[in-house]
Symmetry: C2
């Protein structure tokens, strides 16, 4: 039974750490609170994982794996209609943040989106890249091939931005609009709104650009323009 007990403690630590990291962030979270919530000794983290940072990495890996299994980005047959695929992507994206069974993962990934750590790079980035690619492909089916790459990205971002607002500013939204609670019904209506709103925007983009296809304003970054960070993400 010792093996069982070990896995129990290890698992309880992962779970507790996930909650605490999601609630307070890496720095503000304390190993003592994690261990207390897991019903374990303070030294447990040092024994089962090497240190706090490694534990954080394992939490990210664990959560990322679970959520990717629960809500994969490409479950739909390729033959499905663009509208169907877009709706599925919007639904998947929102559910990843609001499914109560996934508990703290949404908050945690929300933090990583704003302040990516080196673990984001190693574990989650491929997932985000995958989503961005799926979304871009689907968006392409609406806007056609007449628009610039930059505009294509802006279109994808417009869809993603509409989804991300809700987990990102959820506390403030709850203040501004106390009646909008994140029930399953509300999320269904939200998915419908974002999908239709986006499709209208996408089709309009295609329409607008059909006329001025000649002008190719791919204004590349000027040499003098300041670059944003482009290297590795910092350690947590």
């Amino acid at each position: 039974m010792e093996k069982q007990a070990t896995e129990d403690t290890s698992q309880r630590l992962l779970q507790a750490a996930g909650e605490v990291f999601a609630e307070y962030g890496f720095r503000a979270a304390t190993v003592r609170e994690i261990c207390e919530r897991a019903g374990a000794n303070v030294a447990a983290i040092n024994y089962h994982f090497r240190d706090k940072e490694t534990l954080y990495g394992e939490v990210i890996r664990y959560a990322s794996k679970r959520v990717a299994e629960t809500y994969p980005f490409d479950p739909e047959p390729k033959g499905a209609s663009p509208e169907f695929r877009l709706r599925a992507l919007v639904r998947t994206y929102l559910m990843r943040f609001f499914d109560q069974n996934l508990a703290w993962y949404g908050k945690l990934i929300c933090r990583e989106l704003a302040e990516p750590t080196s673990f984001f790079e190693r574990i989650v980035e491929s997932d985000v890249r995958h989503y961005a690619q799926q979304l871009t492909e689907t968006v392409r089916e609406f806007v056609g091939h007449g628009i610039s790459d930059e505009q294509l990205r802006m279109c994808s971002n417009s869809v993603a931005g509409q989804c991300l607002l809700y987990p990102y500013t959820r506390l403030i939204l709850a203040r501004l609009y106390p009646d909008d609670v994140m029930t399953a019904d509300f999320i269904d209506r939200l998915i419908e709104h974002i999908t239709r709103f986006s499709i209208a925007g996408l089709r309009d983009t295609r329409r607008r650009d059909a006329g001025k296809r000649k002008r190719n304003h791919k204004v590349n970054a000027k040499s003098g323009a300041r670059r944003v960070l482009n290297g590795a993400f910092p350690r947590p």
Copy 2:
């Protein structure tokens, strides 16, 4: 000259604190780094402000005031066209985050949006409410009075979400699309995209709902539905 010197130190502390708070967040920021960056003694914070928390509040107040003066939400004449007003709101919102003269304010308010503190409530919330109201009024001009309040909010959120994505996930966007740098030109094109994309979405919403105006699906929060936090924001 003593008064002058005092204001200098006080001002340098505010500036340094703004940078450090924006970079690390309240908890992770240390008074020692703030004072070091301001070229002041560790006790300076305790002398000029009472403590770290009060300093944070002053930083928020200072930044909020500066940004509200630089980019007010309602500079446009009420008589302007809806499209003009929407574009102005999008521009103002984006510029508040990306104007280099406002330096760290964007990052700071970005943090507060995700994790509002009690200072957000006391200082910034009125500003956010004001923006939400202006945006909703403008959106209303596009969608008319045939849609539900919930749909109206979703429409406003769709506009705001498109704007917020860029400051929110800026580090990740810089990784995914290294060529999109936040130059003035890029922001101009971004404003144009979001404005037109949104207008198409809004007009479509009006069109869609013209038919089913009978059905009034204001499904209020069921008694059993879980509420999100609705009280005061936590201290930082």
